[in-house]
Symmetry: C2
Subunit: 333 residues, 2 copies
DNA sequence: TTCCATTTTGCAACCGGTTGCAAAATGGAA
DNA sequence: TTCCATTTTGCAACCGGTTGCAAAATGGAA
């Protein structure tokens, strides 16, 4: 069925080594035998078995792409970018959906069984111990969208969530909002915690501003809507809400709309991510843009460099965010 | 670094075969040696290398998950379900993003290099020749969300798009719409063609109904919005539109809203898919539900059965759709 | 033509597993 | 205890590749 090295060697009248060598870069083969081999190979439709090769080279070109965010639309963009970039450098993503199992050990074991060359953990909600487990197992790992640390134990690529919180606060101050609110994602997520830290820190600098705080159960439409519905029953209402992320913001917007209130007239909203939907004209969400593409480019770059140097010193790479002004905050006065 | 069979055998004081046998189901090992092996294995943290095993067993448990729909939110649900179900039966998805390369041969070659056990082609827009290429290469393939055929050359699991078109038409008739429109996805997609066939066929049965037809450039928000903006400049307007899918419908809704018209008061809309967003309260789209979960369950079931019997006779599995009534069509009078 | 440095080649062992087969071990029955 | 059918075990070959090493081939220079 599937044609092997041996058959090509026989047809070309050379040794198996010769065939192997014409298919490995930089190996020593004369033009003459290379031509013979190539001719035989194309005739038989031969293509080397990467997994068999991997047995001796210890390179499978397989990268574990691990995530638990299969419900947030931004992750479709993330998967799109990751698969493209990885394919672009000849790597293949083995997708792992962590929504079911929470045991990091099981994933580590599984991915080692497949001798992946490296792992990308793409999540802002997984505990840091998760990426650590790969590192401890000797598997190159980069944690994308993870928490920044000044002494990272493994590679982290993402944004400075503390700074993002600060940006939201400054944006509110600039527009003269006095009573503002932090409406975070789940308070167990490090991203939520960091954003809160930056936000509250900045607000507390401002003696004439006050802040209320609450958390939605997830980074999701339903959770945002639910939490906002609850908040709408409590007076006084805040003038502006910094929401956990865009999809949560959209849930919040829908609750506000149902309550007959107007955005940005009655209430201001700022999200985070700038996913595609945020720009849809019927949503038109003012938000803080997370540079997904740069984060992913950089993550792939890092994982590639770790293939060459697995002991590469862990690094935290942070990308700046920017406010994308659309229609859910009142103008700067 | 990574511990192998041999080391376990040495520690346990048995042959390599014995170790291998304790890790393969149904192999003949006495309880005594099994215990010895297991003890040694856990002590060393041994776990068999699936890829090395695959060399002789010809089973890698790798499944190519091939798609080109990385921009339609419904596919996040699709990827979520597929990865879960595959993991559930011990298979691992190797994700292939076809957005860049269009050459089926390249993908076939690549996936054969990784000796995948099978391939799921998840797309309603890829040409049928694509799945065929895998079949011809001897790789078990199922085409999910593909076009139904009475004489399928490979396994197809999906919906009857002709019937869906008919359902939309009947729904319009039931609600007394007279001038209706088909606003399809790209007219090169077989799904679009089939839906048109069913829709127009049913409308033509109804002498007092008339129909206009147009196509958006893609199954996307922007394409739907753009096409609707164009249509809004042409009089007379249709009373109700059957849109290519949900995300396209949302674009259409946003164009209508911008034009100051009301849904369902001025214009009725019905979509297709029933993706999560369709149920969001600020969208509340009446749509035809495609049973994604059943389609995926069935696809995984089929691929599993093909692993046992690769020559399994090709089958087309169709799942019924149903209208989900929300707020974008006027009530039945 | 001879010599020698350099390039190319094939052999054989290896990567980490599985498996058919023959030999060894086991465990009742007589 | 002996015998024999059944179960368990290890050897050795294999899956489809790569690679170090020594031998063979090549190709100038003298």
């Amino acid at each position: 069925m599937t044609v092997t090295l041996k058959e090509v060697a026989e047809l070309a009248g050379v040794s198996r080594s010769a065939v192997s060598r014409t298919f490995t870069d930089g190996a020593s083969v004369s033009d003459k035998t290379r031509r013979k081999v190539e001719k035989a190979a194309t005739k038989l439709g031969y293509t080397p078995n990467i997994l068999a090769r991997g047995l001796t080279t210890r390179r499978t070109k397989l990268i574990g792409l691990v995530s638990n965010n299969f419900h947030n639309p931004i992750f479709l963009e993330v998967f799109d970018q990751f698969t493209r970039k990885l394919q672009g450098v000849g790597l293949r993503p083995l997708l792992v959906n962590l929504s079911d199992e929470t045991d990091p050990e099981a994933s580590v074991r599984m991915l080692r069984q497949y001798s992946v060359d490296g792992v990308v953990v793409a999540s802002s909600t997984l505990p840091p111990g998760f990426s650590k487990a790969f590192k401890d197992a000797g598997v190159p790992v980069v944690n994308s969208f993870g928490r920044y640390s000044t002494a990272p134990e493994f590679h982290v690529v993402g944004i400075d969530n503390v700074e993002c919180g600060r940006m939201a606060a400054l944006e509110f101050a600039k527009r003269g909002y006095k009573h503002v609110a932090f409406l975070g994602g789940p308070d167990t997520a490090t991203s939520t915690q960091d954003r809160f830290k930056g936000f509250s820190g900045e607000i507390s600098q401002n003696p004439d501003m006050e802040m209320t705080v609450s958390y939605a159960k997830a980074y999701s439409f339903e959770a945002g809507r639910e939490e906002m519905q609850r908040l709408l029953n409590i007076r006084p209402l805040a003038e502006a809400y910094f929401c956990g992320d865009d999809v949560l913001s959209i849930g919040v917007l829908s609750a506000i709309e149902d309550a007959g209130l107007n955005v940005p007239g009655d209430i201001g909203i700022i999200g985070l991510n700038d996913m595609e939907m945020a720009g849809w004209q019927n949503i038109n969400l003012t938000t803080i843009r997370q540079p997904v593409q740069q984060i992913i480019n950089s993550s792939v770059e890092l994982i590639v460099s770790m293939l060459e140097d697995p002991a590469r010193y862990p690094e935290a790479r942070l990308f700046p965010c920017e406010v994308i002004e659309r229609g859910t905050l009142r103008p700067v006065s």
